[in-house]
């Protein structure tokens, strides 16, 4: 397997009035060619900021350190003019709300064609023709007609398809999708997840899907990375993490998610609230909410390390006993 993206020691800091806050802390991960990686976490976990920083899209008061190697170029700290040649071509990103990502005053085909003219040197006619073909690929009925529509004339599901078509026009190596189905109805969400699977197979694109929904993860991802308080707390194959979670937070998320096939009397939610990034607890950030917390967790921060020597799975937790609710004294 070849690494298409290799992220090393990525940190994101936002300057506030008189202080600063770390949204992402020393993140290390890589993305293999053709794989789908799910990045899972709740609000404030840093999952979106990590990828916005890689794309050079942080808010003005944000700064990034570390490396994000796309092949042999480092995206962190790259000049905007150079970054513009890479974004949309080798690495593309789509967002939760397609309406705010599309230009409301331009026809869909104009917006799509622009990408091809700019990045691939197509002439206008050629570009529009390719744009219509791509709309067909992403399942838009009557693509030639819909290409002449404005974004507001389309439904949410259609707009998200347009965004996906736009992102795939240059056949990028990497597509980052930030909560791409959260705003969609469940039947449209199912169509969209199906589309992601087909497209990653057809184009060999590596997909990063950022989500809070474990149902979405189970359906599309090969590997996952769970984030909490700006750090990765567990990584591994999807099956490993779902059936044998090793971090109490992963376990808690799984037990918090209602399952249509298994009606439980009660859910086992994680106690307490997600931490404020300005006041992270000493030691492990998860310790105030953890059912398995012991003395060491209050003093030291557990590093992200292989769960067993030589394992590709990683966790950031000192607790080594079995993770089962109700069995801890």
């Amino acid at each position: 397997m070849t690494k298409v993206l290799d992220v090393q020691d990525l940190s994101v800091t936002f300057a506030l009035h008189e202080s600063e806050v770390r949204a992402v802390n020393n993140l290390n991960f890589s993305l293999e060619a053709g794989e789908t990686l799910a990045v899972v976490g709740e609000s404030g976990s840093g999952k979106s900021q990590a990828f916005l920083s890689i794309m050079g899209l942080l808010a003005k008061n944000g700064s990034t350190s570390g490396k994000a190697m796309l092949g042999d170029v480092n995206l962190v700290g790259m000049e905007k003019s150079k970054l513009d040649r890479i974004r949309g071509k080798d690495i593309a990103m789509i967002f939760q709300d397609p309406m705010t990502s599309l230009n409301p005053s331009l026809k869909v085909k104009t917006q799509l064609a622009e990408v091809l003219v700019k990045h691939r040197g197509f002439d206008q006619r050629q570009a529009e023709k390719t744009a219509v073909e791509m709309l067909e690929r992403v399942g838009i009925p009557e693509p030639a007609k819909r290409a002449n529509a404005y974004p507001h004339e389309m439904s949410g599901g259609m707009r998200q398809r347009v965004m996906i078509a736009m992102a795939l026009l240059c056949q990028p190596k990497i597509l980052i999708a930030d909560e791409p189905t959260t705003a969609l109805d469940v039947t449209v969400q199912a169509q969209m997840l199906d589309l992601f699977k087909t497209l990653t197979d057809d184009f060999g694109t590596s997909l990063v899907i950022i989500t809070h929904d474990l149902g979405v993860v189970a359906g599309v991802a090969d590997r996952m990375m769970v984030m909490y308080g700006g750090r990765a707390v567990e990584t591994g194959n999807v099956d490993e993490l779902f059936y044998d979670p090793r971090h109490p937070y992963t376990l808690g998320l799984l037990h918090s998610t209602p399952h249509i096939a298994k009606r439980a009397e009660r859910l086992d939610p994680i106690q307490g609230l997600p931490p404020s990034l300005e006041h992270l607890p000493k030691g492990c950030s998860f310790n105030p909410r953890c059912a398995f917390c012991f003395d060491r967790c209050l003093e030291e921060r557990p590093p992200l390390a292989p769960v067993e020597p030589g394992s590709t799975r990683q966790k950031a937790c000192f607790y080594e006993g079995p993770l089962k609710y109700g069995k801890v004294a």
Partner: protein, 342 residues
């Protein structure tokens, strides 16, 4: 066996709601049918889930039940009395019995009022018999019941996270000791771990206060988790009503089946096995709905006659409701069965 009037807290009969919308400056007004032919009842002490996709009318239905929106036709019988005929002034008093919890907890709290004032407010209007000290005692008791600390009483909504704010919204709804609460997407805006806390809280409070809940959500897994019976809406019409187990194990309407197989399952092996019975296309516009069965344009079982007649809402065995002229004939596709039976 108790009579229906006693077991049913609310009965909805032939409810219809339309909205008129202007499309342009000089164009004629268009009529959008938000709800039509709505007939069902809510039993005392149950949780009735209402599911459907955006624009299906689920929130409008919740608001019609509470008389926050006046239906065009039909009755909302509360313990036998038609609320649509109750004068506004009397309805206001009646609201002590019927409360609502909203989706966006922060947006539904007045930012200039303290937590204590917000929770106390309904008591001032609806329970004038209590004096200030009694009101405060009740507010503190309710804050404890929903998991808020007493020292939070003088804080303002912006100081709270979404989950905490929803606890405030729940306390405000419960303070008048209502019999019925309409929960309109109460956990959709919350993080997963907090969502589970609020779902557990609602179920505890339901037992503690003997509540009847109408739980509106687009999330079928959440609805299945909390509901005794589930009502499925599509384009303003009931397509199916049955117990959670019946809906899940033996769905009769093709739309219910499609919804079930589209629900993301947090289980990778099951998710890989299943072949999603993906619905074609999207929900048609409610301004110009398809003739006959409104679901027929996306239904894999649709025939010519589905375009000709509006399917009646039939009562079938076990008191279930279904609106499909072909429900007896159609078989559950094998691949769907593999998942549904799992």
């Amino acid at each position: 066996m108790m009579s229906d009037a006693v077991t049913n807290l609310i009965e909805i009969k032939d409810l219809k709601k339309t909205f008129s919308i202007a499309t342009g400056l000089f164009s004629r007004k268009l009529k959008l049918t938000a709800l039509e032919n709505i007939n069902f009842s809510v039993r005392r002490g149950e949780t009735l889930g209402i599911v459907g996709e955006s624009g299906c009318g689920k929130s409008t239905l919740g608001r019609c039940i509470l008389q926050l929106i006046n239906p065009d036709e039909g009755q909302v019988l509360w313990l036998g009395q038609d609320l649509t005929k109750v004068p506004a002034e009397e309805m206001r008093k009646r609201r002590a019995d019927l409360q609502i919890i909203f989706q966006d907890p922060l947006a539904s709290l007045n930012p200039r009022m303290t937590v204590g004032e917000i929770i106390e407010d309904p008591l001032k209007t609806l329970k004038p018999e209590f004096n200030k000290a009694e009101r405060r005692a009740r507010v503190l008791k309710m804050m404890e019941a929903v998991g808020l600390l007493p020292e939070m009483i003088n804080r303002y909504p912006h100081e709270f996270s979404g989950g905490q704010a929803q606890r405030i919204g729940i306390a405000r709804a419960l303070i008048t000791e209502p019999k019925l609460i309409v929960c309109d997407e109460p956990v959709s805006a919350l993080d997963v771990s907090i969502q589970a806390q609020i779902l557990n809280l609602l179920s505890e409070l339901k037992d503690e206060f003997g509540l009847t809940l109408i739980f509106i959500s687009h999330n079928l897994s959440v609805v299945r988790h909390v509901s005794d019976r589930i009502l499925v809406l599509y384009l303003g019409r009931i397509v199916e009503l049955a117990t959670g187990d019946e809906i899940y194990n033996d769905p009769k309407h093709p739309y219910t089946r499609a919804l079930l197989t589209a629900v993301p399952i947090p289980d990778p092996k099951l998710a890989r096995q299943r072949n999603i019975d993906a619905l074609k296309g999207e929900i048609p516009s409610p301004i110009n709905p398809p003739s006959g069965c409104t679901f027929r344009t996306r239904c894999r079982f649709a025939q010519q006659r589905c375009a000709e007649v509006r399917p009646p809402l039939e009562t079938i065995e076990g008191g279930r409701l279904v609106a499909c002229i072909r429900w007896r004939e159609i078989e559950i596709p094998e691949e769907a069965e593999a998942v549904l039976g799992a």
